[in-house]
Amino acid sequence: MTRDWWKHLILILGVIIVIAPFYMMVSYSFKSPGEIDRGEGGFFGRQELMVDERCVKLRDPDRDDIAVAAGRFPGHSDSDIRDALLAEAQSDCSMRPVIFNYTKAFTEAPLLRYLLNGVIVTASIFFIQVIVALPAAYALAKLKFWGREAVFSLVLFCLLIPVHAIALPLYIMLAKLGLTNTYAALVVPWTISVFGIFLMRQFFMTVPDDLIDAARMDGMGEFTIVWRVMLPTAVPALLAFAIFSIVAHWNDYFWPRIVVTGNRDLFTPPLGLREFKGDGDGSFFGPMMATATVIVTPLIVAFLLAQKRFIEGITLNGMK
Amino acid sequence: MAGLSIENVTKRFGETEVLKGVSLDIADGEFVSLVGPSGCGKSTLLRIIAGLETQGAGSVRIGGTPVEDQRAADRNLSMVFQSYALYPHLTVGENIAVPLRMRRLNGVQRLPLVGGLMPGTRAVAREIGQHVADAATMLEIGHLLDRKPGQLSGGQRQRVALGRALVRDPAAFLLDEPLSNLDAKLRVQTRAEIAQLHRRLAATFVYVTHDQVEAMTMSDRIAVMMGGRILQCAPPDVVYEDPDRIEVAEFIGSPKINILPLEILPDGRLSLQDRALDLAVVEGARGVASLGLRPEALRLKSGDSPLRGRVVHSENLGSEMFVQIDVADLQERITLRATPEQRGALALGTPVALDFDLHKALIFDADGARIRRLRHLNAAASEVA
């Protein structure tokens, strides 16, 4: 420790730079707009009651409100009643900044819907990837057939093509089919994971042939073997691949940005955050950072809980 | 070349004490083996000599100079590692040249491209090339110089590791189980070659092994280590014939020495299987003791004997034969060396009686220490040294 102090010095400096935006994101999500503007309040802010001006404005009493409220304030003039109502609105609309920020995050935009979309899209992508890749990987690893080398060469060639790079022609194809602004558009380009095929094939190569022969002796067909024998043996590799796939698609911004335009119901979390930023003014820093925190948190928490698995999954590429 | 001197070296890893005060003097040009079961501390001791570990206490001297404040690179020792530790990206020739390049060229001269332009680099490089060629010739690996270690067989890698060690002229050679990754046949062959190499270089060798046959066949002296101590350090024949302790007797020799329970009667006489022997201790405690008998110290006898039993297993090696005999009241079987001609009398299940030469009997006390002062009661009552 004493001998290593200079290493810790360098590494801690790195930690500060790495952590800074996370710190700021979470901290701003706790603070009132005033505190953000003035840069006060430490990490949590002072959490003094604040008044939501927009909420007050919405409840600005008009003639009808005053008439309705007249019964509650007998003998008062209209302007008095108006002031009393305003005071009521003020007190109803005042809350702690942290509550204000997070309520706004969920009410200003359908954040829950975005999160649900994120879950639907990442889960569909992963399941279809597995359904498509696993049988192909099994055939390439364990079955002898004419054309196997050609198919595998094709897989190796396709590994060279990043899907982001061919976004434009894919977008044109989807547009021609009238599929833009659908879940299908979000999912389809990712249904084929050549990397998944390659990875699972390498894994299946290590499964002994005897296991498959035994299954055949037991009367299983090739399809049954894939799902009943190979799938269970591949669970660790699939788990790693799941993490790889889910992290990539939960965080993906480029592709949803291209195929989803305007239809909020299809927004994935990053798109929702982007829109929030687009129409927000300065006073919305707090809620916006609350949204960002909500979007980033699930993966970070999962990562902290299962670090080893995540690092394995994300660096899957390294196994090539 | 130089001798080594180790004094009271201790070492602990966390809670476990690996070396408990080891002292050993190795003369200039001597071949000493450190032998013992795994975990006895022999490799740790070698690494302390090398400077790869630091001792807890005690001192190491190389050629009379204390080396505590010198790191491994400065101690002028060569080492052959168990895994050979060849640099996988360098060719055989480059691997052998590394110790010379590191010592004779400075950092700038070692740089690729730029280094070649520095004054003096060429001359030194030529000199190094000559040394590498000489070492390769000595080990007959001249034709492999351009290959990568990955392309070599285990035996060839082992030679390259040797070549890297002897390309310079170190104070001593340290070898850490260099033969353990070779197959049996190659091991026997390389054993002889290393012994020859030692004679030719007349250099100091410290050789760590768990294989007592290697130690017996190559060394000038064997240091038998157990539990972090050197139990005995002596020439191979002495260690075999005249062990100081029961553990040494048990570790050295194959097949293993027979150990029989013995009782020292109140008058000092020894009693085996309730029968008094014509042998008595001169001094020391009475009670339980052990009798060590090498398989060749036993012989077949007709008639009465304290050791009677049945043949349960025999191994005929062609030139000799080892027979295991189950003796009543003894937990372990007794191994007897016989000649193949005797096999007729040693068929499985045959009852046999055994006799032994009292002069070859090794007596150990209850703690396992050798009892050397003995009185022969029969014949002229002489004392065995």
Partner: protein, 326 residues
Amino acid sequence: MAVIDVSMTDAPRETTVARATQERRAAWALTAPALILMVIVLLAPVIIAGLLSFTNYSLGNSGFDWVGADNYEKLFTRSTYEKMFIATLTYVVTVVPLSVGLGLGAALLINTLGRFREIYKTIYFLPVMATLLAMAIAWEFMLHPSIGMINRTLEATCGTPFEVVPFIANGCADRFPLWLGDKRYAIWVICFIGIWQGFGFNMVLYLAGLTSVHRELYHAAEMDGAKSAWDRFRLVTWPALGPTTVFVVTISCIRAFQVFDTIEAFWPQGGGPNKSTYVMMFAIFEKGIQQNLIGIGSAITMLFLAFVMFLTLIQRWLVERKVHYK
């Protein structure tokens, strides 16, 4: 006798043939979905982009004209695209060496530590996990010229001995940079965020690579007279990390070429001040999708694919040739 012979030799052969046929059918059935998708989703778009890059096609138009290599000619003559190449190359050439170097440095430092290594590893990996878009917005706030944490911190150093640094002295005298609004800084800020996000990934790969270095090799190096840490690094560590380095550099390059999220988040229109951060992915997005200039977008796509494929092929060649020490 003959009957028995036939039944004994033919029956197995028939079943073998039948089994082979069955196996072949099963194999094609199992690979068919993957094959079809590979062709539709990956190969067809490449061909389509290749063809469209020679046309003036726009979505919504019924027809199009073949324009030959016009689109490519524009790419290499117009100043907008010159800026695109400069921005992309600046980004790649800055981010790749620095994120690889920092990843390696962090891995080497962490690897020698006994305690706390897991904590550093976890923290440095956080940016890899986090949604880049969200973090880009967080960075945007940090870089805000007036209320951002960075300029506030810099302002706090005014009047302290730090002012001997010319950059801080200038900032205190006048004002600190606008960062994202300043064309001198914009691309470097983007590079910085790219490095910030990517080096933890490289570090983890290097840490995995370091565990495969045989410990005895370091001892051999020490015995061979490699006294300095640098000598041991040159003799043992760096060669052993060869395969990891080839992989890390390639993947960093491909990721660097694909930079998009940060730029779109900071400058939804136009690719930064004076187009100083107009990288290829953004150009594809802007030309092809926002402005519906499919021809030129396809040409950029083809160029982009060529870069990425070239890099990957170099990587595969290196892996097979050089770093396999066999």
